[in-house]
Each structure stands twice: as structure tokens, then as C-alpha cells.
Symmetry: C2
Subunit: 124 residues, 2 copies
DNA sequence: TTCATTGTATTATTGATATAATACAATATT
DNA sequence: AATATTGTATTATATCAATAATACAATGAA
């Protein structure tokens, strides 16, 4: 299935995020070989050049590495993967709290709202 | 001061969000006159055309309206403003929960993490 | 009445993104 | 040995976003 992309941000950035998510959430494991650029591009329904850009950008963080002709691989540094997952979670939480604060909700109010939704699922 | 804009998304979208936030968070009130397109553009350090686009897009939601030569005004529908604030908060919460879920955190785990951070402020 | 301010419209130019179509060298695969 | 697959590079094209520089008509202010 084509990936879930929108038009509001550069596609290559969204591809980076999606792949990063697939890695830290366990779809791929440390040391795994990624599908080829062409296959990933087919799967995401984007141009191979765009996928290539996303992947080469991901290498700058050390999350993946490429071997010229055998393919591209996930880092074998398991601790790095765990750390990244934690960092992303932390970032989400802080961004969320800040967004709510901008709407005029204190951290305590926000916490209370989240509890309500988690326990009830209803709209606030 | 120039507004806080990044390069990852169209500026006019970020302007829309910022203005909408200024409205629902109480910087502007129902019926208030907005600064002129040119003044807002100066303040945000963007081109007047870009600000004009952001504002005209905002009109489609009914949040603001323009009077050809006297200026642009916030809606007088206070209930609409309150509803928007609530809707935005609800959206933030659900997006947040989904983001965390994609990282492998259940709603209950997420709630617990938020509680920890709100009460302690430390990194998880 | 005159002039400044308002939203709005127009034209042109620049830069980034995405796509398309190839091409190449190095390595696996057969 | 021959072929396919790999990441990577190049050139061209189209589109959108953003800026720049004006212009206009309607209204408010002086």
C-alpha cells in the first residue's frame, strides 16, 4: 500500500520520519537489510530519487548505513535504537504540553484531559 | 519580533496557525480589528502577499472577515472561538496519543509518562 | 476635498521539491 | 563468465511557494 503522505511538507522529510518510525517501532531490527531504494520507492509510490534523498539523509544520523552494492542496513547499535525511541517519545510529550499551553491549558489541566480521554475515549 | 517560522512547511500555513492561535488564546478578542495586512507582514517579517494569502485562507473558515477598506476583523461569534479552542485541544490530544502509539506506547503507558513529566519535569 | 490607509490584484523572478529518464561502477547471483 | 541488483549521479522539466514591485478602488481621516 502507498504510504500515508500529505502535501503540506516535503515528501522526503515524511519518508525519513516514516522509515525512522518503522525502525524504532520494531518493523526492522538492528542489522536488518532494508529493501532497495527502488523497491521502497515503489512501495511508497514516490520517485526513486526522492526515496534516495530520504535514505541518504537518514545516514547522516547514523541510523542506517549503506554498502555500495550490497544494500542498505539498519545500524547494529541496539542501544541507539532504544535511545532514539525514548527521545522521540520525550519530544512528543514536550511538544504536546507546549501546544496545549499555547491554548491556555496548564500542564495539570492537560494531564487531566488526557486521563479523561484515555479512560473514556469521548470528546472533551 | 519576527515570528517563529521554520522552513519545513509553507510559511502561509504557519502564519494561519499562528494567527488562529493568537485568536483562540485571547491575544485578540471577538470583534477586534486585526492589524493591516502590511503591518502584520512587517511584524512577521514576511512578504505582504504571503500574509494576505494566510488571512484570506483564514476567512474561509469564518474565523475572520474583511471589510474592503476599513480592515479585517475577528468574528463576533464567541461560541465559535470557544469551540475552536476545544477542537484544537482535542486534536492535539488525539494526535499525541497516536504518535505515542506508533512508538509502541499504549494509551495507559503514555498517560503515565505524561503524569511523570508533569509532576517531575525530568526526562523519561 | 485631499490624502492616507485598506484589502485586493497582477506580473515577474527566484528557489526548492518532485518527477522522469538515464547512466555508471561495484558487487551478488546465476 | 554473464547477468542482475545495488547505491549513486546527472540532466531536464514542471510545479508551488515566496518574494518583489506595482497598481487600483473604496473608504476613513485630515
Amino acid at each position: 500500500m502507498p504510504w500515508d503522505l500529505d502535501n503540506d511538507r516535503p515528501i522526503y522529510l515524511q519518508l525519513m520520519e516514516q522509515i525512522r518510525l518503522d525502525i524504532v517501532s520494531g518493523k526492522y531490527h538492528a542489522g536488518d537489510k532494508l529493501p532497495s531504494v527502488r523497491d521502497l520507492a515503489l512501495e511508497a509510490a514516490v520517485n526513486p530519487n526522492t526515496m534516495q534523498k530520504a535514505l541518504s539523509e537518514l545516514e547522516r544520523s547514523g541510523l542506517v548505513y549503506s554498502q555500495r552494492t550490497s544494500g542498505r542496513f539498519i545500524t547494529e547499535d541496539n542501544e541507539m535504537l532504544q535511545q532514539l525511541r525514548t527521545d522521540l517519545a520525550d519530544e512528543h510529550i514536550r511538544d504536546f504540553l507546549q501546544n496545549m499551553k499555547q491554548l491556555g491549558f496548564s500542564d495539570e489541566e492537560t494531564l487531566s484531559l488526557v486521563a479523561t480521554i484515555v479512560k473514556g475515549g469521548k470528546t472533551i
